[in-house]
């Protein structure tokens, strides 16, 4: 599946009136897919509420970036605050949705996205507080890593970002919800069969009678 279709699907999670945080990488890209008249407030950890689409080169403001370092524009009605207020907003659960990347995510909604011991440890950033405190955490990632291993696991093996925090997982192959019963398949990519999906997913999937396509 194309990145374009994946990000477009993820963008559908966002509803008018919400306050959203988008992680570095794929999640941030989905802003570009939101209608210009949609009333949402996008929060960036570096102290911006009302972050909007990337600034074109000629309009880039050197003092206005998002947490990933992209030069951005701001929506009317936005506000600027210091990093303590920015995380006060997170810890007070004022975010409706955080969409984050993952190295691993499991059937219980456990998330690992900050450290691969011995190989990758650039720091925690805002991930821990976002994962632990956002009302609804959605993981957006590729279904399998570069060597084909499933990122969707029965149980995470890497150091956790937060336990039991993820509600929904959106990958290039499927949309899945974490439920009390287990990982419920909601939608499948158009270019995959159910057998192929099960084969490339380490976690157990609950297969409902009707499965959407995207």
């Amino acid at each position: 599946m194309s990145i374009d279709r994946l990000v477009r699907r993820a963008a559908q999670e966002i509803k008018s009136g919400q306050i959203i945080n988008l992680g570095i990488g794929l999640p941030t890209m989905l802003i570009e897919y939101l209608p210009n008249d949609m009333e949402v407030l996008i929060h960036s950890e570096n102290g911006v509420l009302g972050a909007w689409k990337k600034a074109p080169r000629e309009l880039a403001e050197p003092q206005l970036i998002d947490a990933g370092g992209n030069y951005i524009t701001m929506r009317a009605g936005g506000s600027i605050f210091d990093s303590a207020v920015s995380f006060a907003l997170i810890r007070r659960s004022k975010l409706d949705i955080s969409i984050m990347g993952a190295f691993e995510v499991d059937e219980k909604g456990n998330l690992a996205n900050w450290k691969i011991p011995g190989r990758f440890s650039p720091g925690i950033g805002g991930a821990m507080e976002l994962a632990q405190k956002t009302k609804k955490v959605i993981v957006l990632c590729t279904h399998n890593d570069k060597s084909g291993q499933s990122k969707i696991l029965k149980q995470c093996t890497l150091p956790l970002t937060a336990k039991h925090c993820v509600s929904r997982i959106i990958t290039d192959k499927a949309v899945m919800d974490i439920t009390d019963e287990g990982l419920l398949l909601k939608e499948m990519a158009q270019d995959i069969t159910l057998q192929e999906l099960i084969a490339c997913t380490e976690a157990n999937l609950i297969i409902p009678d009707t499965i959407g396509r995207f």
Binding site: F81, F87, G123, E129
Partner: protein, 231 residues
Amino acid sequence: MNKQQTIEESIAKIPHGAVIMVGGFGSPGTPFSLINELIRQGQKNLTLIKNDANEKAIGISKLIENGQVDKLITTHIGLNKGVVEMMNSGQMQVMFFPQGILAEKIRIAGAGSFGFLSDIGIDSEITDPSQLIEWQGKTLKIESALNADFALIHAQKADLYGNLIYRASAMNFNPLMAMAANHVIAETPNIVPVGDLVPESIHTPSAFVASVVALQSLTKEYEVMERRFEY
């Protein structure tokens, strides 16, 4: 109450081994000129506290590359492979905190308190059991306040008393650090007369600032980074 100083005399106050907070999240709000003067003067064995390590060859990355930094207290250095390698090879000690915990540790130091009770990451590998207490029926983690000897601050505007105003995402850690460090040095490209700033719009009251440095011009480091448009 006129706190204007030359960049040379303001940075000369910093001794070897100082603990220095540096404002900025990425480039915005990073006091590049003060950092460049610190490189010129060559103070060594520094401990830096900054959200990130900037990117290669600018800001505190230059200080680190120049061997002046023993320890970095930060949240995320993913945009700086060189510093990650120095950490991995043991050339420099790096201590990580969750971003909002780092911000709040600095905020609580700036408030003259000594620590705060948090529920962030208490069941994760970043928590040592010795930091946990039972308080009013909850298991909580004591996060210590983080003070510093100096803070290097970039402000959009300042008056001669040291009242500071920040712009856009250049605010970030700057107002927090300006309260938490014992000696605060602020650079600004816009010095305005005392009385020009609207009292309610001042982000850092003058009482917290020791010295104000007027920048005559801004180096290329303050401009839009072309490499960020190479998608």
